[in-house]
C-alpha cells in the first residue's frame, strides 16, 4: 500500500522537479532553418520533439531517417500529432544552406509547420549538440560524414525522455514516448 502510494507520488511529483533536471535546451545554439530564418535550439520548446542529425548530401542513411520519421508521424494519434515536432540538425554547414534544406523538405513533402531542418551557425556547436544527443559522427576524408543514427525524444522542457537507434528500433517505441 505504502509502495503504491509512493508510486503515485513518484508519478505526479516531478511536475516541479522537472525544471531542475537537465534539458537539451541548456545547450545554447543559433541555427538557420530551411526558410533562411534564424532559430535557436529551443525553437520547439513547449512541444514534444524528436531531434536527430543528418546531412543533406547523404545518399543512403539520411533519406531512410526521414522516411522513418514520417512513418512515426503517421502512426501518431491526432492528439499526439498536434503537439509533435521534428527537428533535424545538419552536420554540414558548408553544403546545408537554407536552399539545400528547403529542397530536402520539398523532396520529402513534410509539413513545414511541424518540421524544421536547421544548420548551426557556429560550426563548433555541432559537436556539442551531437555529444548531448549521443550521436557519433566524423567528417570523412573522401567527403561526407559517417554518423550514428539516433532519435532523441524531448519533452516540453527539453529533457531527453528517450534515445534510440533510429533505424533499428521499432517505430512504436518512439510513438510511445512522443507526447508523454
Amino acid at each position: 500500500m505504502l509502495a503504491s502510494l509512493f508510486l503515485v507520488w513518484a508519478i505526479f511529483a516531478p511536475v516541479h522537479a522537472e525544471k531542475v533536471e537537465t534539458s537539451f535546451y541548456d545547450l545554447e545554439a543559433q541555427m538557420t532553418d530551411q526558410d533562411g530564418k534564424s532559430i535557436s535550439l529551443d525553437y520547439f520548446r513547449g512541444h514534444s520533439v524528436i531531434v536527430t542529425m543528418f546531412f543533406s548530401s547523404c545518399p543512403h542513411a539520411c533519406p531512410m531517417l526521414i522516411a522513418r520519421l514520417r512513418s512515426i508521424e503517421a502512426k501518431l494519434t491526432k492528439e499526439k500529432r498536434l503537439n509533435a515536432r521534428f527537428l533535424l540538425i545538419s552536420f554540414d554547414p558548408k553544403v546545408d544552406t537554407p536552399a539545400a534544406l528547403l529542397a530536402l523538405q520539398e523532396r520529402h513533402g513534410v509539413d513545414s509547420s511541424r518540421w524544421r531542418f536547421a544548420t548551426p551557425k557556429i560550426e563548433s556547436k555541432i559537436s556539442e549538440i551531437a555529444a548531448v544527443l549521443g550521436i557519433k559522427y566524423r567528417k570523412m576524408p573522401e567527403g561526407g560524414y559517417s554518423h550514428s543514427s539516433i532519435f532523441a525524444v524531448l519533452d516540453s522542457y527539453g529533457k531527453i525522455k528517450y534515445r534510440g537507434e533510429a533505424l533499428q528500433e521499432d517505430a512504436e517505441v518512439f510513438v510511445e514516448y512522443l507526447g508523454k
Binding site: 533536471e21 537537465t22 534539458s23 537539451f24 541548456d26 545547450l27 542513411a61 563548433s124 559537436s127 556539442e128 555529444a131 548531448v132 549521443g134 557519433k136 559522427y137 566524423r138 570523412m140 576524408p141 573522401e142 561526407g144 559517417s146 554518423h147 550514428s148 543514427s149
Partner: protein, 257 residues
C-alpha cells in the same frame, strides 16, 4: 565595445603566456587502427599545442570569468557529479591541491569551453598522437622499445593519491611536457575516432572496442600504448569526469611562424 575586445584579447594573451602554444608537426601518422582504407597514413599539418596540461590555477581563472562553469552553477547536461570535486569550494582550490597540478575531473564540454575562451580548441586525436609520438630526442619514437615500455609501465601503475605538478618531467622533442606519465587528456573527436566511412561496417567498430580483436585491422600491431589510449577515449561520454583526465588546448598553426 573596443574596451571589451581589448580586455578579451588581454585575457587570451595572459592565458597563453602562462601556458604558451608550442609548434608541433607536421608529420605522418600511421594510426594503430586506421579508421578507413584511405587513412592508413595520416598527414598531420603543423599545429600548436599548449606546453603543458591546463592547471588548476588556469581553470580557476576561467571559472571565475565564466561563472556558468562553476561546479555549483553548471548544467548537469555538461558535467557529471564529480566535476571539479577536488576543489575545496566552487571558487577556491583549497589546501589539498596545488595550483600547478593539472586540472582533472573536467568534462569534454568544460575543456572545450575553456579552450574556446582563450581563442583555441581541443586538439584532434591525430594531432595529439603525433605530438605524443615524440621522445625527448626524437619526433617519432614509436619504434623505440625502451621508450614505449616506459609509457606502458605508467599505464600499468595505479594513479597516485596526489597528482604531481605539471612540467615535472623533461619536455619532449617539440618542447611539450607530460604528454605521458601525468594524466590522460581529452581530444576534440574522442568519441568518433573509430567511425568508419560506411555505417554498415558498424560491426568493425564493436570489434575495436574489445582488446585484441582490433589488432586484426591494426597497422602497427605493437604500438599498444596508442591502442590503450584509443580504448580509453572511446569509452568516455562527453560529460564524464575522472581523477586522471584533464586536457590542453591547440590551435591551427599561426601564419608566418
Amino acid at each position: 565595445m573596443i574596451w571589451l575586445i581589448l580586455s578579451l584579447m588581454l585575457t587570451q594573451e595572459r592565458a597563453l603566456t602562462e601556458n604558451p602554444m608550442i609548434l608541433a608537426g607536421p608529420g605522418i601518422l600511421r594510426p594503430f587502427y586506421p579508421p578507413s582504407e584511405s587513412e592508413k597514413e595520416i598527414k598531420v599539418e603543423a599545429f600548436e599545442l599548449q606546453q603543458h596540461a591546463v592547471t588548476n590555477a588556469e581553470f580557476l581563472k576561467f571559472v571565475m570569468e565564466k561563472p556558468k562553469w562553476r561546479r555549483d552553477k553548471v548544467s548537469p547536461l555538461f558535467v557529471d557529479s564529480t566535476y571539479l570535486s577536488l576543489w575545496e569550494s566552487p571558487t577556491r582550490l583549497g589546501k589539498q591541491i596545488s595550483p600547478k597540478q593539472p586540472v582533472v575531473f573536467v568534462s569534454w564540454f568544460a575543456a572545450k569551453a575553456y579552450c574556446e575562451s582563450i581563442g583555441a580548441r581541443l586538439p584532434t586525436h591525430f594531432e595529439w598522437e603525433l605530438a605524443a609520438a615524440a621522445s625527448e630526442a626524437q619526433a617519432d619514437s614509436r619504434s623505440d622499445m625502451t621508450w614505449r615500455q616506459k609509457i606502458l609501465d605508467w599505464y600499468g601503475k595505479p594513479a597516485p593519491e596526489r597528482l604531481p605538478n605539471v612540467m615535472g618531467n623533461k619536455p619532449n622533442f617539440w618542447g611539450l611536457y607530460d604528454l605521458h606519465g601525468l594524466i590522460w587528456e581529452w581530444v576534440q573527436d574522442f568519441n568518433s575516432i573509430l567511425l568508419s566511412s560506411d555505417s554498415r561496417e558498424a560491426g568493425k567498430l564493436d570489434q575495436a572496442k574489445f582488446c585484441g580483436a582490433g589488432a586484426i585491422g591494426a597497422s602497427e600491431t605493437d604500438d599498444y600504448p596508442s591502442f590503450m589510449r584509443l580504448g580509453f577515449l572511446s569509452s568516455l561520454e562527453a560529460a564524464y569526469t575522472t581523477k586522471t583526465l584533464g586536457f590542453r588546448c591547440a590551435k591551427d598553426r599561426m601564419k608566418g611562424k
